[in-house]
Symmetry: C2
Subunit: 173 residues, 2 copies
């Protein structure tokens, strides 16, 4: 490793934050900005790693979440409900269901109660897929946070929740 090796793009330095703030004569706290920047970088990293992880099982993060949510609800749910519980738009659910249906992991049935509505059901093949990936999935999830003790994980959960609550500062107004 040379003294000038490439810095981790997900981990901007405090110096960098200080420099950026100074350039425009602002008064923001460099440490606070650094935390925000690191979190954004970590978020991107985690997202990409998640796609690789679920890709092993022929799924994506979105498709896995839809499948798991379906299983958690007796294997049957409307697209609108799925959109609400996954926190994505209905259009995204349409796309996810299209892909999962193509692979036979879910199926669409017209709703018996509402002529406008559909119901997405988990097929046997879909349930199988979830069962097959579970051991490796949970093992890897667990090893990801193995660098922290139980106490540290508790602290982390608390701090993370409080920052997540602050995310709306980015979007509000």
């Amino acid at each position: 490793m040379t003294p000038h090796h490439q810095a981790d793009p997900a981990a901007p330095s405090l110096e960098q934050a200080r420099r950026q703030i100074a350039r425009y004569g602002l008064t923001a706290d460099p440490q606070a900005v650094l935390v925000a920047a690191r979190l954004m970088g970590a978020g991107a990293r985690i997202g990409q790693a998640g796609e690789v992880h679920f890709g092993r099982f022929g799924l994506s993060t979105g498709r896995y979440r839809l499948l798991a949510d379906l299983e958690d609800h007796g294997g049957e749910k409307s697209p609108s409900q799925l959109a609400a519980s996954l926190g994505v738009s209905r259009a995204t659910v349409t796309g996810l269901v299209d892909g999962l249906e193509r692979e036979g992991l879910v199926a669409r049935r017209p709703s018996t109660e509402d002529g406008r509505g559909n119901v997405v059901i988990l097929t046997a093949r879909g349930a199988d897929r979830l069962r097959e990936l579970a051991p490796e999935h949970f093992a890897r999830m667990q090893s990801m946070v193995e660098g922290l003790s139980v106490e540290e994980r508790t602290v982390f959960l608390d701090l993370l929740a409080r920052i997540v609550a602050g995310i709306e500062a980015l979007t509000e107004d």
Copy 2:
């Protein structure tokens, strides 16, 4: 708020984690799995919020990062260098530069040293854009983490770095 209001999709519960693990007779630690799941959810949330945030200034997260990186290096850098420091593929840089060039925020010039290479330069318009968005950008970044004290932020940075180091557990092998 009703007693059965929709749970935050980014915040799965410990109960949910326990249930999923139990369903397949596994022995994973529910708390560890919860931390991993919450982090993945937070990552997605932050990513979306970032797009909204930068969208205010006619940019995206990727385009902002490219612009800021360019400014940090004297306003001139090759696509390959940009890809390395942003942590994305060269193909992605091509797309980002295409968009930024269309809006006149950067320009492409052939490299004088390497006939194969380009140099991306920050235009005056691009530097203006960065200067205009800086006050609001840093203010919002700061408010995002305002729920934490300085000491808590330090702890958070440490814990986050150690979990980020564990991300490769999701991808390795």
